[in-house]
């Protein structure tokens, strides 16, 4: 059995760990609220852009002269997986869930004989991906200096991606991030980034009827060509915002669990400490009584 002194030291150490996890939980909760607000503030823009894209999509037919971002390069041999993770750890299974989703797609693509490379946003996915797919990471975006994600950050990434696309570094880009549902649930999500998937949504058919007389300046194709890179930036921005909220949510839950576990540990150690102390006292008493009787 551990000595009284050793137990005391352990209790103190677990208590200070509990203090840290508790503080981290509070910080995550505060940041989560802010991240959620940012995500909500960005929603109107994304919704309107999607509506405009849908109504344009129903008017433009994809032909050989369509912009490459929409029509694709004509092959789908080289795939780029854009994996958005966090810059910091201690967020439960947040990062490993995203990386797992990316690996699943990567393995499926490799099995089909496609070329796969990775483009990382945030540093937490690097170690695993580097180990499993050595030499496949083409670039890593460092976000450690960014406190709150701004649209310009997403814009930079999207311009870099479009440049690489134009240079022919890849044919298809997939984006992986964690969609925020609640503080308890974050769903790893995959969306196709490039070429822009245009689905004639049911809303699009309705909009086409209503906006039949819309005038376009310059014309549909030019507006669409203008919109496509913007759409990619918006998708990235949304993913980053969702990711930020998910990260904080995940960290909050993880730290809540850690605090609770530390509490249980302290209880257990305290009981053990009291029992040991009691046993030591009893032994001492027996020794004294036995000594007195011997006289």
């Amino acid at each position: 059995m551990a000595s009284l002194k050793a137990l005391k030291v352990r209790i103190t150490s677990v208590k200070s760990t509990q203090k840290i996890t508790k503080a981290m939980k509070m910080v995550a909760a505060a940041k989560l609220r802010r991240a959620q607000m940012a995500a909500e503030a960005g929603r109107p823009y994304a919704e309107r852009l999607a509506a405009v894209m849908a109504s344009l999509a129903s008017k433009v037919t994809i032909g050989p002269e369509s912009p490459k971002l929409l029509a694709g390069t004509g092959s789908d041999r080289k795939h780029l997986l854009v994996v958005a993770t966090s810059e910091r750890g201690l967020a439960g299974a947040f990062n490993s869930n995203i990386v797992r989703a990316a690996r699943k797609t990567a393995d499926a693509l490799i099995a089909e004989g496609k070329e796969v490379s990775f483009y990382l946003i945030g540093k937490k996915g690097r170690a695993v991906i580097q180990r499993i797919y050595p030499g496949k990471i083409v670039h890593q975006v460092d976000q450690s200096h960014i406190k709150n994600v701004a649209f310009s950050d997403a814009h930079e990434v999207s311009e870099d991606l479009i440049l690489r696309y134009r240079r022919g570094e890849f044919d298809v880009a997939h984006l992986f991030f964690a969609k925020f549902q609640s503080a308890l649930v974050q769903e790893p999500t995959e969306i196709q980034l490039i070429p822009v998937p245009l689905t004639a949504t049911p809303a699009g058919t309705a909009a086409a009827g209503a906006s039949a007389a819309v005038e376009y300046e310059p014309d549909e194709e030019a507006i669409l060509a203008e919109l496509l890179p913007r759409n990619i930036a918006v998708q990235l921005f949304r993913a980053m915002l969702e990711n930020a909220a998910s990260e904080q949510g995940s960290r909050m839950t993880a730290m809540d669990n850690a605090t609770r576990n530390a509490g249980e540990m302290i209880n257990k150690l305290t009981i053990q400490y009291n029992r040991t102390r009691q046993a030591a006292i009893t032994t001492e008493l027996i020794e004294i009584i036995a000594g007195a009787e011997a006289l």
Binding site: A38, A46, F151, H155, A213, E215, E217, A222, E226, A233
Partner: protein, 86 residues
Amino acid sequence: MALHFELVTPEKLLRSEEVYMVVVPGTEGDFGVLQGHAPFMSVVRTGELAIYSGPTTVSARIRVEGGFAEVSEKGLTVLAESASEA
């Protein structure tokens, strides 16, 4: 006599209000939008957007950077990449 005007950036909904007229810097020239404008869509260039609260009174000027404007029966919506009061 009011036009519903919304200015949205990716970060937030900047303005949503009733105004008299808005002059938007389009890629093919500035254009003014009054109430009852025909459905219209245009790419916006970097420039100044002027909000009129009356026929001759400019209530605000906003610097917008890239984006596009959409006029529908619901009013004018400007989706700007970034916007700041000038």
